[in-house]
C-alpha cells in the first residue's frame, strides 16, 4: 500500500496509450433551471466524469480528479458520497426535492462510503475510514476529520450502494455527519478545482461563492461509484459533482454595490388601490403574484463563459442547459453566437427548452421578462417531515418526528435513521408511533427496528426503523431522550449555544422494491430521500469563569478563617504575672540567644529584627 505512490510516476507516462484505449473517459455537464413559486429559482448543476477501471488502477486520469482518486485508492474506498448542505428546501411551496433528494445532505457535512474491509478486522476498516475522512478534510477544507468513532455509524436499511460492486468484494458502509459544519466558499473552491474546466468555462462559470452562499437552500455533492455491465466486467468509475440551489431572484438581483434591502420608494410599490383607505400616505401592498423577470447575468452576476466541451467538436451537439417554463412564457436568448434552444412541450402547459452552449470566447445568457402567472411548483412531494426536540429545563426532552403522507392513494414504506451523539441517550421503551389522522388506520406501523446503543465517549447511538405509512396518514414518531452530563473539558472551546444533533434521514422506498415481480437491478426505481433540519440540544453548561472565582474566594475565606481560628485554638492568653518563672536551662538558652542577637546586630543587622526576635521568644515562653 505504502509503495503505491512510487508506482504512480511510471503510470503517468502511459497517457498516450490509455487515451486512445479508454472507452469510458467522458465528461458531461448539465444545468437545470426551474423557476419556482414565490420568486425563487432552482438551479441544479451536475458534472459527471467517468474513467475506466483499468485507467483508474493504473493511475491514469483524464477527467476524473486525480487528487480525489488517489485518496480513494489509498483508503480502498469503493463508493463515496460526500455532501455539504445548508438551508431548507420548502417543499410546501416548491414541491418535490430535486433528484429525489438523492444528491442532498443534511445541514452541514455528511459523508458515507463503502470501504473495502472485512467484518472480522474492524481495526483495518477503522484505519481506512480514518484515512478517508482526514484526507477529504484536507482536500475540501472542511472539519471532516471530526467524524471519529463517536460520529460514525453503520446504517443497515437507509443506504444502498448506487454502483455495481463485484461479488465477493465485501465493502462496508460507514456513515458520518457533522451538523454544525458551516459550509462556505472555502469548500466550494476545492470543489470547483476537481472539475476539468475549473469554473472558468461551461456552466461552472456561474458558480460564484457570493451567489451560491446567498441561496435559500444549497447543497454540494460528490458521488463516486463503480459502474459495470451486467456480467460484472468492463467496469468504469463515475464521479458526479452536483450543486443544487434555490435562489431568491429578487435578492440575487440586488446590485452588489448596494445589497441592503432598503424600503423601496413608494412609487415602486404596487398598492392595492381597491382598498377604501388607499391614499397618498396609505398603501396596502399588493400580494406578490406572478413571476419576476430575471436573466442569468443578473441572478448569477455573470453569464456562462462559453462551453466546456472537451470531446472533439464534431461529436453530436449536446444541450447542457435545460429550462423549465410555462408554455406561454417568452424566453429571450441574449447571446448572438448561440444556437436557439430545442423546445419540448410537456403536458400541463409547461415547456422544457434545451440550450447548447456557444464555444469559448462567446458567452451565453437568457432573459425571462416578468410574467403575471406564477410558475407551477414541481411535482408534489411524497412526504412531509418535521422533527423537534420538545421539553425544557431538567425534564427529559422528547424527540418527535411528524411524518405525513400527502398523497391520497399512494401508500409509503419508508426507513427512518436517527444518529444521536453519545450524550443524548434514547429511551427505546418510549419509542412509539402515534397515528394522528384517521386515514392511518391500523396499517401505519413500525415494522423493523435496528438499534445500536451508545457507549459513553466512544460511539453514538443509531436508531433505524422501517415503517409503513398509508395514504393521507399523519403519524408522529416519538421517543424520550436523556441528556448526559459532560465533563468540563468536553465542551467545545468556542461560544456555547448548545450541541447540534444531526437531522433524521428518511428514505422512501420505491414501489418497485415492494413489487416482487420487478426484481431486476437495472430497472429498479431509485429510492428518494428526505432529511429533517438539525436540532439544537441545550446541555447544562457551566459558567466556566465561575469555578475560578469560587476557588479564589473560598481560598481567601479559608485562609482568613483558618488563620484566626488556628491562632485562637493554639495560643493561650495569660497575664505576664501568671507566667511561671523559667528554669535554669531556659534561662541559659535565652542568654545564649540574646548574646547571638547582640552579635548579629553588631554585624550590621537592623535592630528591628532583634526586637521581633525578642517578642517571638516571649510567646514561646508563654506557650
Amino acid at each position: 500500500m505504502k509503495l503505491q505512490p512510487l508506482f504512480a510516476l511510471p503510470a503517468t507516462l502511459l497517457p498516450v496509450v490509455f487515451a486512445a484505449a479508454d472507452p469510458h473517459a467522458a465528461y458531461t455537464e448539465h444545468l437545470d433551471l426551474h423557476p419556482l413559486p414565490d420568486g425563487h429559482l432552482y438551479a441544479g448543476f451536475n458534472f459527471t466524469a467517468t474513467t475506466s477501471h483499468a485507467a483508474y488502477e493504473a493511475q491514469h486520469f483524464r477527467y476524473f480528479p486525480r487528487s480525489l482518486a488517489q485518496i480513494l485508492q489509498h483508503t480502498r474506498t469503493a463508493e463515496l458520497h460526500l455532501r455539504f448542505a445548508f438551508g431548507r428546501w420548502d417543499d410546501e411551496s416548491w414541491g418535490a426535492r430535486p433528484r429525489g433528494g438523492r444528491r442532498e445532505g443534511g445541514t452541514g457535512a455528511e459523508l458515507w462510503a463503502w470501504v473495502d474491509g472485512e467484518e472480522d478486522h474492524p481495526e483495518v476498516l477503522e484505519e481506512r475510514w480514518g484515512g478517508l475522512v482526514n484526507s477529504l478534510s484536507g482536500l475540501f477544507c472542511a472539519s471532516l476529520n471530526f467524524i471519529d468513532g463517536t460520529r460514525t455509524t453503520r446504517p443497515v436499511l437507509s443506504f444502498e450502494p448506487e454502483g455495481t460492486h463485484k461479488h465477493g468484494n465485501e465493502a462496508q458502509l460507514l456513515h458520518g455527519t457533522l451538523p454544525h459544519e458551516v459550509v462556505c466558499t472555502e469548500n466550494l473552491t476545492p470543489f470547483l478545482k476537481l472539475l476539468p474546466c475549473q469554473g472558468k468555462a461551461g456552466i461552472s462559470s456561474l458558480l460564484d461563492g457570493h451567489k451560491v452562499f446567498d441561496a435559500n437552500w444549497q447543497t454540494m455533492a460528490i458521488d463516486v461509484r463503480p459502474l459495470c455491465n451486467a456480467k460484472g466486467e468492463d467496469c468504469a468509475l463515475e464521479i458526479q459533482q452536483t450543486v443544487d440551489m434555490v435562489l431568491d431572484v429578487e435578492r440575487s438581483m440586488r446590485p452588489s454595490h448596494d445589497p441592503i434591502p432598503r424600503p423601496l420608494p413608494i412609487e415602486q410599490i404596487e398598492c392595492d388601490t381597491s382598498k377604501e383607505y388607499h391614499s397618498d400616505d396609505t398603501c396596502y401592498p399588493q400580494a406578490p403574484s406572478g413571476a419576476p423577470g430575471w436573466s442569468l447575468r443578473k441572478v448569477f452576476g455573470q453569464p456562462i463563459n462559453g462551453n466546456c466541451d472537451l470531446e472533439s467538436a464534431d461529436a453530436t451537439p449536446n444541450y447542457p442547459i435545460t429550462l423549465h417554463v410555462p408554455a406561454d412564457h417568452p424566453v429571450e436568448l441574449l447571446s448572438s453566437a448561440s444556437l436557439p434552444g430545442k423546445e419540448e412541450k410537456m403536458n400541463l402547459g409547461s415547456t422544457i427548452i434545451h440550450y447548447p452552449l456557444p464555444p469559448h470566447p462567446h458567452t451565453f445568457d437568457i432573459s425571462l421578462p416578468p410574467h403575471p402567472q406564477p410558475p407551477e411548483p414541481r411535482n408534489p412531494p411524497l412526504l412531509h417531515a418535521t422533527r423537534h426536540l420538545t421539553g425544557h429545563g431538567l425534564d427529559p426532552p422528547i424527540l418527535t418526528t411528524t411524518l405525513s403522507n400527502p398523497s391520497l392513494s399512494k401508500n409509503l414504506t419508508l426507513t427512518y435513521l436517527d444518529t444521536l451523539p453519545w450524550f443524548l441517550r434514547p429511551y427505546i421503551h418510549t419509542l412509539r408511533l402515534q397515528r394522528l389522522s384517521r386515514a392511518c388506520g391500523d396499517s401505519a406501523e413500525l415494522q423493523q427496528l435496528f438499534y445500536t446503543p451508545a457507549r459513553d465517549r466512544e460511539r453514538g447511538s443509531k436508531i433505524e426503523l422501517l415503517l409503513h405509512l398509508p395514504a393521507g396518514c399523519t403519524a408522529q414518531l416519538s421517543y424520550g431522550v436523556e441528556k448526559a452530563v459532560l465533563r468540563y473539558a468536553e465542551y467545545p472551546p468556542d461560544a456555547n449555544r448548545g450541541f447540534d444533533v444531526a437531522g433524521g434521514i428518511i428514505k422512501i422506498l420505491p414501489d418497485s422494491l415492494l413489487d416482487e415481480q420487478v426484481n431486476n437491478d437495472s430497472k429498479r426505481e431509485a429510492a428518494s430521500y428526505l432529511r429533517t433540519p438539525p436540532l439544537l440540544l441545550p446541555l447544562p453548561t457551566p459558567d466556566f469563569s465561575m469555578p475560578y472565582n469560587v476557588i479564589i474566594l473560598t481560598s481567601t475565606v479559608l485562609a482568613l478563617g483558618f488563620g484566626s481560628v488556628f491562632n485562637l485554638v493554639v495560643r493561650r492568653f495569660v497575664l505576664v504575672e501568671e507566667v511561671p518563672a523559667a528554669g535554669l536551662p531556659t534561662r541559659l538558652r535565652d542568654a545564649v540567644r540574646a548574646l547571638k542577637l547582640r552579635l548579629s546586630s553588631l554585624g550590621g543587622r537592623s535592630g528591628v529584627e532583634g526586637k521581633a526576635g525578642r517578642v517571638a521568644g516571649g510567646t514561646t515562653v508563654a506557650g
Binding site: 438551508g87 420548502d90 424600503p263 406578490p288 420538545t390 449555544r497 439544537l536
Partner: protein, 636 residues
C-alpha cells in the same frame, strides 16, 4: 479546648437565653432598613452590557420611508378586522401573514378556571431565515388586546409591517416567529407552553392544542404594545415591562439592549412600571423598587412576555406611554435594532444578571446586595426557633423553688449542686443541669397536619366557581379562626404540655425560616413580603399574664384578634381594599379570580406559598397563642 469549654459555659448564660427575641427583632429591623439603603448610589450599580456579541444600537436601521405607508394600511386593515368576529379576524390576520410570505398557523386554546372559560385563538407565522440553520428562533409578539384590555391596533400592525420588512433581509441567523396572541397573558402562555410541551394530548383544564409549525430553540422574545387606532397618537417614552411568572426575570442584557437601543440610538426615553416622571431621586428609585417588589411578589403575568420566562426564554414588552413626539416608525426602528442585536447572539443570553432589582432604566441592584435583606428577615424565624428549642429542653424550676419574677438573691433557696471543672468550683442550681426529654411526635404531627390542612383552602380558592369565591374565602376565614382554637382546646384537654407547645412552635418556625430563605433565592420579593407579614410570629408565646380566667378570656380574645390581622384571609381582604377593584373591601371576587387564574393557567405558585407555607405557620402561631389562655382557663 479552651474555646469550647468557654462556649459551653456561656450556653447556660441567662442573658443568652433571653437574647433570641431581641436578636430576631434586630434581624427584622436590619432587613427592612437594608432595603431602604439599596436606592443609594453606594449600593446600586449602573447597568452595562455584559455580552459583547449583542452590540446594541451598532447597526443602521433602515425601517422607514415607504414602510410607513404600508404600516398605515396595515393599521387600517387591523382596525377593520377588529370589527369582525374572532374567526374572521384570525383568518384576516393569517391572510396578511401569508401574503407577506410567512408560514402561518392558528392555535386555539381553552382554559377552565374557577368555572369560567378562557378561550381564544393565537395566530402566528414563521419567517424562516434564508441562511438560518433552523436550530434557533426569536419571537416578535403583538397581543391582540394588551394587558389593560385595549385593542392593540398599532402594535399588531407594526408587527405585520416588521414581518414584511424582515422578510427581505437575508442576515437572520435565527428564524423569526411573528406571534399575535388573542390576549396578553393566556394567549402567549398557551403558545409558549405548547411550544415546549412534550405531551400531545390536551387536558381538560388546559386545552392547549399542539403547534402545527415550530422552529428551533427560542432565544428571545419582544412584545410590542401600542394600543392606538388609525387616528394615531405619538408617544413620549417606552415602558419596558420585564416581570415574568413567579418573579422570574429576563437576562439583564436583554433589558439593557432595549434601553440602550431606545435611548442611545433613537433618543426615546425608557421607563419602568409606568413611572413616566422619574427624576432619579432617592424617592423615585425607592418607588420603582417598591413597584418591582410588588409585581415580583405577586408572581403574575405583567404582559405577553411573562409566560416565556419559566421556559428560560428571555422576553420583554415595549409599551408606549405618554404623549410626546415619537411615532410608530421610531418604535419600529427600536424593534428592528433589537432584533438585529438578538440575532447577533452566538449563545443563549447568559452573561449578565438574572436576579436584580431595577431602580430606574439604567440602575440596578444585584442579588449580592439585596439578598441579605430577605435572608435576615427569614433568618429571624430560625433564630427564634433555636431559642425555643433550647428553652424547650430546660427544666422549669418548680414554683416552690423559685418564682418566675425572682431575683438572684432568692435563688439561693433552690437546690444547689457543686460543679468542679479543673481547679474551678461553682455552685449551680440543680435545674440548670437537668435536660428534659423533648417529646417530638405530637408537635411534629401538628406541624405536618397543619401544612397538609393548607391544601384545603388552596383547593377551595382555586376550584370554586368564580361567583362563590368570596364565600370560599369566608369559609377559609372561619377555618382560620376556629381551627387553632379547636386544636388548642382538644390537645390541651388531652394533656399537651407547655414544652410540647414550645416544640410545635419551634418546628413550625424552623420550617418557615428554611422555606422562606430558600424561596428568597428564587423569588426574592415574595419571600421578603411573606417574611415581613409573618415577622410577628417570632414574638408569640403561650404565657398567660393573669390567673383570673375572665381576664384571660378577654385578653386572649383581644390578642388573638390582633394576631389575626396578619392572617392570610385578613391580609387578602386588606389587599383588596387597597387595590379597590371591587365594590368594597368585602368584594374580593376580582382578586381571588386573578389568583385562581394564575394558579390554574399559569402555574403561579404564590397561592401555594400563601396557603401551604404562610397559612399553616400563622395557624400554629395562633394555636400557640390560644393554648396559653385555654390552659389557664382550664386550670382555673
Amino acid at each position: 479546648m479552651a474555646l469550647s469549654t468557654r462556649l459551653l459555659t456561656i450556653r447556660k448564660s441567662p442573658v443568652l437565653l433571653k437574647l433570641p427575641p431581641y436578636l430576631s427583632a434586630l434581624c427584622i429591623l436590619v432587613g427592612v432598613a437594608w432595603l431602604f439603603l439599596l436606592p443609594l448610589n453606594d449600593y446600586s450599580r449602573q447597568t452595562y452590557i455584559s455580552e459583547n456579541a449583542i452590540l446594541p444600537g451598532q447597526v443602521h436601521t433602515y425601517f422607514g420611508g415607504s414602510e410607513h405607508n404600508v404600516f398605515r394600511a396595515y393599521r387600517q386593515e387591523v382596525y377593520h378586522l377588529s370589527h369582525q368576529n374572532e374567526a374572521d379576524r384570525n383568518a384576516g390576520l393569517e391572510r396578511i401573514l401569508k401574503e407577506i410570505g410567512l408560514k402561518t398557523a392558528q392555535q386555539p386554546y381553552h382554559y377552565k378556571v374557577a368555572g369560567e372559560d378562557i378561550e381564544g385563538t393565537n395566530v402566528y407565522g414563521l419567517l424562516q431565515g434564508p441562511r438560518a440553520d433552523a436550530t434557533e428562533a426569536m419571537v416578535l409578539m403583538a397581543a391582540w388586546t394588551n394587558f389593560d384590555g385595549e385593542t392593540n391596533w398599532s402594535g399588531v400592525a407594526l408587527a405585520l409591517t416588521m414581518a414584511r420588512y424582515f422578510k427581505r433581509w437575508s442576515i437572520w441567523s435565527k428564524d423569526i416567529l411573528v406571534l399575535i396572541p388573542a390576549d396578553s397573558t393566556y394567549g402567549s402562555e398557551a403558545w409558549v407552553s405548547a411550544y415546549h410541551s412534550t405531551a400531545t394530548e390536551a387536558t381538560s383544564t388546559r386545552n392547549v392544542s399542539a403547534l402545527p409549525i415550530k422552529a428551533g430553540a427560542l432565544q428571545g422574545a419582544v412584545a410590542i404594545d401600542y394600543a392606538v387606532g388609525p387616528w394615531g397618537r405619538r408617544f413620549d417614552k417606552l415602558d419596558i415591562q420585564y416581570d415574568g411568572i413567579n418573579g422570574a426575570l429576563p437576562n439583564l442584557d436583554l433589558l439593557n439592549t432595549a434601553v440602550s437601543v431606545a435611548s442611545g440610538q433613537l433618543g426615546i426615553g425608557c421607563t419602568l412600571h409606568g413611572m413616566v416622571k422619574h427624576k432619579d431621586s432617592y424617592r423615585d428609585r425607592l418607588e420603582t423598587l417598591g413597584h418591582g417588589l410588588a409585581t415580583q411578589a405577586a408572581g403574575h403575568a405583567t404582559g405577553p412576555h411573562s409566560p416565556f420566562m419559566p421556559y428560560h426564554v428571555d422576553a420583554i414588552t415595549l409599551k408606549t406611554v405618554g404623549d410626546g413626539w415619537h411615532d410608530e416608525m421610531s418604535l419600529g426602528r427600536a424593534t428592528e435594532s433589537m432584533f438585529r442585536s438578538i440575532n447577533n447572539l452566538l449563545e443563549h443570553l447568559h452573561q449578565s444578571f438574572f436576579f436584580y432589582i431595577l431602580l430606574n432604566a439604567n440602575r440596578f441592584v444585584s442579588i449580592g446586595n439585596y439578598l441579605p435583606a430577605a435572608m435576615l428577615v427569614a433568618g429571624s424565624f430560625s433564630i427564634t426557633a433555636l431559642g425555643l428549642w433550647v428553652e424547650s429542653g430546660r427544666a422549669v424550676p418548680s414554683k416552690k423553688e423559685v418564682k418566675p419574677a425572682s431575683t438572684d438573691e432568692k435563688k439561693k433557696g433552690a437546690d444547689l449542686k457543686v460543679v468542679r471543672q479543673g481547679g474551678d468550683v461553682a455552685l449551680v442550681p440543680v435545674y440548670e443541669e437537668k435536660v428534659v426529654e423533648r417529646k417530638l411526635s405530637v408537635p411534629a404531627l401538628v406541624v405536618l397536619g397543619m401544612h397538609l390542612a393548607g391544601i384545603v383552602p388552596l383547593y377551595l380558592l382555586n376550584n370554586t366557581h368564580k361567583d362563590y369565591l368570596p364565600f370560599a374565602l369566608l369559609g377559609t376565614m372561619l377555618l382560620t379562626l376556629l381551627l387553632p382554637f379547636a386544636l388548642a382546646k382538644t390537645l390541651i384537654s388531652q394533656g399537651l404540655t407547655v414544652k410540647e407547645i414550645q416544640i410545635t412552635q419551634c418546628l413550625s418556625l424552623l420550617l418557615l425560616g428554611a422555606t422562606l430563605s430558600t424561596l428568597a433565592t428564587l423569588n426574592f420579593s415574595l419571600a421578603f413580603v411573606i417574611s415581613l407579614v409573618c415577622s410577628g410570629l417570632c414574638f408569640v408565646r403561650s404565657r398567660p399574664r393573669s390567673t383570673n380566667s375572665a381576664v384571660n378570656i378577654a385578653v386572649g380574645t383581644i390578642t388573638a384578634l390582633l394576631h389575626s390581622t396578619t392572617s392570610p384571609p385578613v391580609v387578602i381582604y386588606g389587599l383588596n381594599w387597597y387595590l379597590a377593584k371591587g365594590e368594597g373591601w368585602y368584594d374580593v371576587k376580582w382578586l381571588l379570580y386573578e389568583m385562581a387564574k394564575g394558579w390554574a393557567a399559569q402555574d403561579v405558585y404564590t397561592s401555594f406559598v400563601i396557603w401551604v407555607i404562610w397559612w399553616p405557620a400563622w395557624a400554629i402561631s395562633e394555636f400557640v397563642l390560644l393554648s396559653g389562655f385555654v390552659r389557664s382557663v382550664e386550670q382555673a
